[in-house]
Symmetry: C3
Subunit: 386 residues, 3 copies
Amino acid sequence: MTKTTQNGLYGRDFLLTWEKSHEDLETILSVAEELKRLRDRNISPRCFDSGLAISQFRDNSTRTRFSFASAANLLGMAVQDLDEGKSQIAHGETVRETSAMISFLSDIIGIRDDMFLGAGNAYMREVGAALDEAFADGVLPQRPGIINLQCDIDHPTQSMADLLHLKTVFGSLENLKGKKIAMTWAYSPSYGKPLSVPQGIIGLMTRFGIQVELAFPEGYGLIPEVVELAGKQSQESAGSFHVVNSMEEAFTGADIVYPKSWAPFHVMQQRTELLRKNDHDGLKSLEKECLSNNAHYKNWECTEEHMKLTKEGKALYMHCLPADISGVSCRQGEVAATVFERYRVPLYKQAGFKPYVIAAMMLTNRFEDPASVLGELEGRGAARVF
Amino acid sequence: MTKTTQNGLYGRDFLLTWEKSHEDLETILSVAEELKRLRDRNISPRCFDSGLAISQFRDNSTRTRFSFASAANLLGMAVQDLDEGKSQIAHGETVRETSAMISFLSDIIGIRDDMFLGAGNAYMREVGAALDEAFADGVLPQRPGIINLQCDIDHPTQSMADLLHLKTVFGSLENLKGKKIAMTWAYSPSYGKPLSVPQGIIGLMTRFGIQVELAFPEGYGLIPEVVELAGKQSQESAGSFHVVNSMEEAFTGADIVYPKSWAPFHVMQQRTELLRKNDHDGLKSLEKECLSNNAHYKNWECTEEHMKLTKEGKALYMHCLPADISGVSCRQGEVAATVFERYRVPLYKQAGFKPYVIAAMMLTNRFEDPASVLGELEGRGAARVF
Amino acid sequence: MTKTTQNGLYGRDFLLTWEKSHEDLETILSVAEELKRLRDRNISPRCFDSGLAISQFRDNSTRTRFSFASAANLLGMAVQDLDEGKSQIAHGETVRETSAMISFLSDIIGIRDDMFLGAGNAYMREVGAALDEAFADGVLPQRPGIINLQCDIDHPTQSMADLLHLKTVFGSLENLKGKKIAMTWAYSPSYGKPLSVPQGIIGLMTRFGIQVELAFPEGYGLIPEVVELAGKQSQESAGSFHVVNSMEEAFTGADIVYPKSWAPFHVMQQRTELLRKNDHDGLKSLEKECLSNNAHYKNWECTEEHMKLTKEGKALYMHCLPADISGVSCRQGEVAATVFERYRVPLYKQAGFKPYVIAAMMLTNRFEDPASVLGELEGRGAARVF
């Protein structure tokens, strides 16, 4: 999982943030910021006269789909969607062949594959290996870059947009050092939410000297390797990383809170088995069992009382959206309506960084010297809108 | 319904023609004509280097979908479709959030929502309010413009294309003064056709000094407020507006006839209730009742005999297409095959104005001075095709 | 079927290769090669500032869909998909009207319609006639060109990509003279594969002085008119054409082998009848019967033993992909895994010509003098990627 075959940005897939160097991550953030600055000044950052960005969503998506489409369009690429049909999971020869077939004139491939534990990120690497081979064989004139639009392990476009939001709110990455973020489980009346967001957050934030506290009810753990990695990284960055089983403990003194539901790791493992077997009865009874388990933890809600525990009662509330808002989108859920409403504008701004983060991943994948490209784009000064 | 919060064109949504001034409507027509002229001379009117036009079709569409895509492409925008799944109707928080999430880099949003009486236009305004708020909050760098691609009340891209067709056929808007148009109900073997076309026609044509006659069998009335508005407008424009219950009376001496089926207002109200409740049995029995009611009015067909009643027997026949053509697309329907065939070419030309009318709505929404933009585009003289 | 109303390239549909002159086919190949050369040198061959390429897939497709999208994008057109729903077959008035409605601002229409024998190519011509009429009537400002993306009779984008592959491998079209190609049936555990590929191959390759041998088990014949045409063409080109009922005979001494499953002509006729009647039971029993018939010919597999019969045991193995690979994609199929694997790279390269062949068909349809357009594009030297 942590093989760093994809470190670096130029010509490298963006599959896990922890495969990238600290400098690489900073590059993504500053390219994203610069792209936003250009567009806000009506300067077109179009650097493709033509080009194809392929999207493959093996799970539903609205905001990531639009972010990907926006990013591709901003740089001058058209989006072509690869729709395999929702239940069919391609393996082996099919992946190798299809990967080559769709890539003859493609520049970027974005993939969401988050349903099957152990399979999503692996699928992306299988596609990547197929592309490597096809390029080496002279089948492809170039090797398209892959961007992970959410897998079973990480959700890098989300966590990097989250980091850019934090950088913007706190003024700099430097300012994040020593700040405390509570990445906590939260109650939801639905079930089976992927682990990629909390894993992405602890896998990224532990690298910036942040005090990361991961909290969940007993039995709701994440993939052990990612948790271990977070600990190691926090030591290297002079931050800290703790796992606790209390929302209150995590919230206490926090500068940032990220309460979000997920299904326990061991449940996701069972679920993956059942999905593979198409065992609908098994899935139903697992869902029932889980929901009744979840119900024991309805007090894991980001209430006003919980918020009062945070630093001066004013921690920044974060969520990847959509949130389960008590009394709004469900009877009881992840967050109280008043808390959500108070942070609605920052939450939307948080989401607004995603198109630019994706565009930065695309641009750094295709250009060795992104700074000079951005400089030339600014110098050209073509209007985005006439 | 008639709140004129959206009058003006620049930065204003196009939701109902009667929210726009006479001058605004003339601007749309002349921008559409000029865009067509440019393209016909192979001059590219592309004024977006990149940009996103979002389409949301909550009902099926082929011709409006292609018109919207053509218009966006002509101006340089890519289309991104928002597909929510057909039965799910989003309300409240979801609309507010989704509207912001899809709009970070969007310029235009086109919406078709014509299934639920009282809901379609209201939905567009809900999206608009969400966008206003998101822009005011600094969430969006710009406020995308909304174009109504058909709602429960109006179908402005259709009625404006129809008006442009009339302007072209009769030589000028001035020449339309005193002409008589018969907007009449017609028999169809299908059921539940929306009210937006006849409402759009009476809501628009009564503003140009035209003698508008609305005809339908007793019980097949339109939304009362729109009918009232049509009457008021006809007085202001020195035209006239009459409602009659006879196709013959409406056709007599008409310069233009627009025979088209629709479901009665009160049926659409019931249907909306049943759709909301997912009452399939109720919907079936309503359909059965309606179809048997319709069957009493099979003589409401645009036959050669009816056409002979019109001005010199040569009224211009109009339809938004597709029409129910007797002996062609159904056993008996809205229009006789020989009448339809005689007017097929003008009908197709009528439809051909829609892409340009939509492009004009897009352009006037984004540019304060469309005339100077068009002048610059002509001056630049870039070839659309090399 | 062989009416040559579409000979020539400029302004002519590309529906059957045998409607085109030898010179026309050579033009397609060289334009495709030149487009590839330009793109490989990062010179953008974009010749549309805006424009629409409509795709209509009446059967599933991944590689042709991506090839079409890539080709359109490379030249500067956006793709708009016409999705009629899979089972509905439009005829008559609907085709005439829809063809006009989608074409007001369209440049190219690509159609796949290969399910119904006697219907697919006919449908394309029906669309073409509707476009001719709409253009003549002044409904359309231009007549969009139609490209056959596979029909019941021919698969010209495939066969032309195959020919370009052969030209590349053997060095020139001249070098293909006297070479032997074995277009043979092969066993597959699936059923109902279209006839368009073998027909396309014999209909094209017989024009280049090639020794074409068509082989299939008794009863697995193709459309008789195409077979007859192949014979006639082979005489004119000083090649040869033979039909045999032995894979071994066809392979013996062959320079090129193209083993590929298809359903017998008479079965496709029955299947078409049953599909039209929506006779699901009939289709099932036909499938059962066919599969049990197929099972008699499991030895029609492209094995290593079969390959040894070919010229020095080194014939070029070709396939349109995806192939049924024994032990990989099925238990037993069209080709042995070791044979397929040995030719995987050339097979992928073969497929890689398709986007360029389609782009060449688009370009030659819209430009009278493609060579000068390509020259100007090269002279302009705009970078495809900044």
